[in-house]
Amino acid sequence: MAVGTSTPGLFDLTPTEDQRLIRDTAAEFAAEQLRDRAAEADTRHGAPDDLVAKSAELGLTLLGVPEELGGVATARAAVTSILVTEALATGDMGLAVACLASAAVSTALARWGSGDAQATYLPRFVGADVPVAALAIAEPHALADPFEPHTVARRAPGGFVLDGAKSMVVRAAQAELFVISAHLEGGGPALFMVEADTSGLTVTADPAMGVRAAGLGRVDLTDVHVPETALLGEAYAECVRLSRLAWCGLAVGTAQAVLDYVIPYVNDRVAFGEPVSHRQGVAFTVADIAIELEAMRLATYRAAARADAGLPFAREAALAHRLCAEKGMRIGSDGVQLLGGHGYVREHPVERWYRDLRAVGVATGGVLV
């Protein structure tokens, strides 16, 4: 760590006017639409189609797509995407992931797709009827490392053949298109577009501890043939970093929901003749939630802003991710603890946030900024 790297711009924590606008719109959508329907979606293990469709009206799939390709991005938009992701997650992490799944693919296409691939797929993502799509990186084996996928891609006449399995695939059962990471034989890890109806690809529901509204599934690939154009460009590490950052945004939004929920709760709840918030044990827990949350947010913003500015951001993304995985989980656990027995039942959303926040430490893929 040498002296901090300098950039021409001033240190600034103020979003632009445009960013504020879309963030506020997303926050409103989260408060009015997502929060109320989260419990049911969690139980049903899937997001209501109408809700995802409504979220598309926010223009989520346009955020990472440049204007010339039909999107709204005038520059790299990691910060904007983080702000939107965070805002949606204040409503519900699982539903936010469901709403953002197709945007992960449109962003990946816009960033790393060939002209051919963009021409083939992007128009629908920037149109009125956004297809369901998913970015699949995680794998269902212990100690999986996104940089060493067990899924392999062999070169074959006219393209590649993929074999392996992917886990935590968002809305897997509904998706028409997957972007799948695989180890390219003779190369390194890479991303491939695979249409859902390709022969050899099967989807199984794979419900998990949390983010259940995202309808997580497992995708198995046996001898799956894809064309040359299925290979996305040379940006694997960047994709993993930007996906981890998106999970940071989800963690920040969810942790904010926890904080906003527990403050009135501990003020209202009376024990031994006083609000429980008058006890340091309770009050310090709330203080620590707020402190760690603010740090999670700042670290995430810093990494995203560096990505947008074209600065190296591997370090900053890793540090933000470490904070969001660890402190985010602690916030989820403390949220339940602050409510005591009431935190353990579904009447209150904190038990869901406990389950959701564990995802941040294990997930890669699904979302992207």
Binding site: H141, G210, F272, M329, S333, V362
Partner: protein, 395 residues
């Protein structure tokens, strides 16, 4: 002579419990987790086992003849058995017929007639109310003597096995103005008019166990159903009730230890299958991060395990164990949550999926840090004892 190993004399009981856990409890874990509010079919098989175990329950078994003699008795047996059973499934352990908290309360404070009358009944315990958590002095459910009956009115939540039990031990106050001393426990038979099941809770974990919410409206129970002394003795009235907690805290600590061990065993299996070696001697900065993390978690497990054994051993040897009981509960409660959550992270997305039981154990574990006195309540008890403070000084 200092020795912290499980003695040969208990090896059979422990291995029986482990076998039951592995063969009966564990196989149905996922099914019962998914089918919340459905009576687990295992309960029919487990009834006789539970009766066998209850002979070893805390407070049960012969007392030491000689104070100097070292005893490994029913308390140690109970915690060891519970660890194994919760290694199998904590939700099912909590559902074991006739091993409810209410049974523990009856065993602790019932007189001879009551013990006989309620023998063989499965007893749940109803303490918490919608507006009282840890603060049992704030209980609003009232019991008024009317002729030969007490009339109970109030509302009770978080009653474990409340639906399945035969009777519920209900805490109520004879006189709100007299504080804790006026709180007594009453045995209420299921089916008593006015004793209404409001709902069963949907929970984060331990879903095999039912958690009931009751309303009591003009519920009449015979005056002989008041457990213990009906007089309000301001000096010691609450002691009997608190005694129950001293006995049950090590049991909850043991539950937490069992769940934590389940997660560690599974994680160890997955790590070694993935090619890592847990080398205890070479524990150091060069070994893989997952191994170092695993050993750190296992150290917290060892701490929880030994504190739990200590608390039980002290009870077996008739030494005051309120302090070690709360220490064990505090440490085991928080560590079970940490350990199970971290195990998922070590393993990765596989551990987060319902394909693995790791995610379930992280949901089950959290209750261990909450019920029977939260982490904060245990810390208060420990701190007050160490610092010599009353509950009005250190609130």
């Amino acid at each position: 002579m200092i020795n912290l190993e499980v003695p040969e004399t208990l090896a059979t009981v422990v291995s029986q419990a482990h076998r039951a856990a592995a063969e009966i409890l564990r196989p149905g874990s996922r099914r019962n987790d998914r089918a919340e509010h459905t009576r687990p079919p295992e309960l029919d098989v487990l009834g006789p086992l539970a009766d066998h175990l209850s002979a070893f329950g805390p407070g049960g078994g012969p007392k030491p003849a000689n104070k100097a003699e070292n005893r490994n008795g029913s308390n140690l047996t109970s915690v060891l058995g519970i660890m194994e059973m919760c290694w199998g499934d904590a939700g099912l352990l909590l559902s074991l017929p006739r091993l409810g908290l209410g049974n523990a309360a009856i065993a602790s404070v019932a007189n001879e007639e009551q013990a006989k009358r309620f023998a063989g009944k499965w007893a749940a315990m109803a303490i918490t109310e919608p507006d009282c958590g840890s603060d049992s002095a704030a209980i609003r459910t009232t019991a008024a003597l009317d002729g030969d009956e007490y009339v109970l009115d109030g509302e009770k939540i978080f009653v474990t096995s409340g639906e399945r039990a035969d009777v519920v031990v209900v805490w109520a106050t004879l006189d709100k103005s007299k504080g804790r001393a006026a709180i007594k426990s009453f045995v209420v038979e299921k089916g008593t008019p006015g004793f209404e099941l409001v709902r069963l809770e949907h929970k984060l974990g331990i879903r095999a166990s039912d958690t009931a919410h009751f309303r009591l409206e003009n519920v009449r129970v015979p005056r002989e159903n008041l457990l213990g002394d009906p007089e309000i003795d301001v000096r010691r009235g609450f002691a009997g009730v608190m005694q129950t907690f001293d006995n049950t805290r090590p049991l909850v600590a043991a539950m937490a230890v069992g769940v934590a061990r389940a997660a560690l065993d599974e994680t160890r299996r997955l790590l070694t299958d993935a090619g890592l070696t847990i080398d205890y001697d070479r524990a150091g900065p060069r070994q893989p991060a997952a191994v170092a993390a695993f050993i750190a978690l296992e150290a917290d497990y060892e701490a929880s395990y030994l504190l739990t054994l200590e608390a039980a051993w002290m009870a077996d040897n008739a030494r005051p164990n309120s302090l070690p009981a709360s220490m064990a509960k505090a440490k085991a409660g928080r560590c079970a949550t940490d350990i199970t959550l971290r195990c998922i992270e070590l393993v990765g997305s596989l551990g987060y999926s319902e394909d693995s039981l790791l995610e379930k154990w992280a949901r089950d574990a959290k209750i261990m840090d909450i019920f029977e006195g939260t982490q904060q309540v245990q810390q208060l008890i420990v701190a007050r004892r160490l610092l010599g403070k009353s509950s009005t000084e250190l609130k």
